[in-house]
């Protein structure tokens, strides 16, 4: 069974600072997603990471994947208030079959001025 763990679950940081959210998964995964969710809203897809060493960047967010360590990271550079949200990582089991994503519990990020 694929399990996904994120840490930290809650993060309060100041604008301008850098920080990293970690996502570990328990077994081989075909791909790794990062989503953003604002309060009362749905999920917005940020990144899809497929292969070992993959790195993707969009603005102040950068995601990477280490398949050997079964670890993905979401790095926030020079945080701004608009990035306050809950961030989820999700993995797709590589064992075959049409299945769904397995999500972590999410990291609730608050960025204060």
């Amino acid at each position: 069974e694929l399990k996904v763990e994120q840490n930290p679950l809650f993060l309060s940081m100041q604008e301008g600072k850098n920080y990293t959210i970690y996502c570990n998964y328990s077994t081989t995964s075909d791909r790794l997603y990062w989503y953003r969710q604002d309060p009362g809203k749905s999920l917005e897809s940020l990144f899809v990471l497929l292969s070992n060493g993959a790195v993707k960047q969009e603005g102040r967010l950068m995601a990477s994947l280490d398949t050997k360590a079964r670890l993905s990271t979401l790095h926030i550079t020079a945080a701004v208030h608009d990035l306050s949200a809950t961030y989820f990582c999700a993995a797709l089991y590589s064992g075959g079959g049409a299945d769904g994503l397995t999500f972590g519990k999410g990291t609730h990020l608050i960025i204060q001025p």
Binding site: K41, E44, L101, K105
Partner: protein, 120 residues
């Protein structure tokens, strides 16, 4: 273009009742998935449908069922509601079913705003 639309947006039911949630996928998308998101948790996979066939099922009791119609819209049905069924139910659509080895660009899931179900 319209995104994934879900109805109703909010629903209040009592224990033991039945509920039907509806989802219309993005035009051209043939796959629909359902997820349950309990407050403070990540979404949990319930079902995936493609071309009206069930293509995946998560670890949910038989009280949960779904179907997909010829126009690719979908319904999620929950019978004998329990307090623990209170959650945000999310529908996601994609061009093709989400499966390992599948073409990434075709099975990125786009989520609707969800239906918030409260069971009293």
């Amino acid at each position: 273009d319209a995104g994934v639309t879900q109805s109703p947006t909010h629903l209040i039911k009592t224990r033991g009742q039945h509920v039907t949630l509806r989802c219309s996928p993005i035009s051209g998308h043939k796959s629909v998935s359902w997820y349950q998101q309990v407050l403070g948790q990540g979404p949990q996979f319930i079902f995936q449908y493609y071309e009206k066939e069930e293509r995946g099922r998560g670890n949910f009791p038989d009280r949960f069922s779904a179907r997909q119609f010829p126009n690719y819209s979908s319904e999620l049905n929950v019978n004998a509601l329990l307090l623990g069924d209170s959650a945000l139910y999310l529908c996601a659509s994609s061009l093709s079913p989400l499966l390992a080895g599948g073409e990434v660009s075709k099975n990125i899931q786009y989520f609707g705003a969800g239906t918030r179900l409260s069971v009293l």
